[in-house]
């Protein structure tokens, strides 16, 4: 064996120690059809994790296959993902078997509230029917400690004309930056608005933002 081969074997041995990761139906679809979407989603979760900081307990409402939940857990300390999609939760559990992360199959709106340091919910609110939106926000507020923060992400209404059919099919409640910020202010004293274009999170002109991220804190009680 050439010396460089044995050295590489040492490297690959260091990578053992956990199960191989599966891409489920949802993230697998991204990689097959819209692979950059995986990059963008990862970037939004990283942004959320950085806003939350270290040593925190985080709830990820609408976690799907839990890739983002795992980012939150490994960056912030611990995280729990909840989703109604049973297959997705199964994929999440098989991939991220670690004491810092857990997953729950169920409806966030029905989950008994706990005092989390942060609630993250990306790409969920645009799927919530108008008549349930108030309940959605209240659930977020009820799941936060007094100094907990909420991070909500959603595609912008303005970017919708460029969305794929499969994406558009589920979007029943799309937001402009103005409406998202205003709505969040009814539940939080402080709201900070960010835009994202591709993986870049910024504070530029909101109507040209492809994606919106709002950070809320000091919940109103």
């Amino acid at each position: 064996m050439a010396p460089d081969q044995s050295q590489w074997d040492d490297v690959t041995e260091m990578m053992d120690g956990g199960p191989d990761v599966n891409l489920g139906k949802y993230i697998g679809y991204w990689f097959e059809n819209t692979p950059r979407r995986a990059l963008f989603s990862t970037s939004y979760y990283k942004f959320a994790a950085k806003m939350i900081g270290h040593g925190k307990r985080v709830l990820d409402a609408g976690c799907n296959e839990g890739l983002g939940t795992w980012i939150l857990a490994s960056e912030c300390g611990s995280a729990k993902g909840i989703d109604q999609d049973g297959d997705a939760i199964q994929t999440a559990r098989s991939n991220w078997n670690d004491p810092r992360v857990e997953f729950h199959e169920g409806d966030f709106l029905q989950l008994p509230p706990e005092q989390w340091d942060a609630v993250v919910s990306l790409d969920v609110i645009e799927h919530i029917l108008q008549e349930n939106v108030d309940q959605f926000w209240r659930r977020i507020v009820d799941n936060l400690s007094h100094d907990g923060i909420a991070i909500i992400g959603a595609p912008s209404l303005e970017g919708q004309i460029y969305a794929s059919e499969v994406s558009k099919a589920g979007h029943v409640n799309l937001y402009t930056a103005e409406r998202l910020e205003k709505e969040m202010r009814t539940y939080f004293t402080h709201v900070f608005l960010f835009g994202a274009n591709d993986e870049i999170v910024h504070t530029g002109f909101p109507p040209m933002s492809h994606y919106l991220l709002v950070v809320g804190c000091k919940k109103r009680v």
Binding site: T189, H190, V191, T203
Partner: protein, 224 residues
């Protein structure tokens, strides 16, 4: 060569006629900056834009350490009022001359230990690194004393990890440089919620803090 102005020139004159007379002469600091390192203007204005976006619209803004007011147009654009304080007399004179507006107020004063009201946002960029560690607590007390109940604070300062690359003039003035961790810890004594951002050149991000050239911390929900 024809003595008649070209149609393009006439067209351009219609544009320039619409501009009014907004020309101004910058003061000593910014004239120096633009001569020595003009791209720095982009970095500084980007910090101000970020602070203005965090502050939001229709807010009263206090800037501690406004110098010649290069950030005033951006900070006051969507604000209901802007107050800038600095102990540099000639810099304040430049600010008053260049950026007059009924909603803008400039005060020549050493702000340490003073209160000018209760503001919705208190912004202080490139100031804290010039305050000796023994007076740092007075700086934070001053921030708190000027902040309304639901006010937010934006503090910007160069990262201590970038000090090796600073100009000699910068290095001389930097007597209290912060790491991201120390800035966050200091802000957390005042606020329940602190959000840390990094900046490299004009790009704001949330990447690995030790490699951020500049640090920006946003604080809100003040502790009682």
């Amino acid at each position: 060569m024809s003595s008649n102005p070209s149609p393009e020139k006439k067209q351009w004159e219609r544009v320039t006629d619409m501009l009014g007379d907004a020309g101004k002469t910058l003061g000593r600091h910014w004239s120096y900056n633009l001569r020595a390192d003009p791209k720095r203007l982009g970095f500084v204005l980007s910090r101000y834009k970020f602070a203005a976006k965090m502050a939001g619209r229709e807010r009263s803004v206090l800037e501690l350490g406004c110098s010649e007011g290069i950030g005033v147009p951006i900070l006051s654009e969507f604000a209901i009022s802007y107050t800038g304080v600095d102990l540099d007399g000639p810099a304040i004179e430049t600010a008053k001359k260049n950026w007059p507006h009924e909603k803008r107020r400039f005060i020549e004063d050493d702000f340490m230990g003073k209160s000018y009201g209760h503001f919705d946002s208190v912004i202080s960029l490139d100031v804290i690194e010039h305050i000796y560690p023994e007076y740092e607590s007075v700086f934070w007390e001053t921030v708190a004393a000027n902040l309304g109940e639901d006010g937010i604070v934006v503090i910007g300062t160069p990262n201590i990890t970038a000090q090796a690359y600073a100009s000699p003039a910068s290095q001389k003035g930097h007597v209290n440089l912060f790491s991201a961790e120390r800035l966050t810890t200091a802000m957390k004594t005042l606020f329940y919620n602190v959000f840390l951002f990094g900046m490299n050149d004009e790009c704001m991000h949330t990447g690995f803090p030790a490699m951020a050239h500049y640090l920006l911390a946003v604080g809100c929900y003040r502790r009682q």
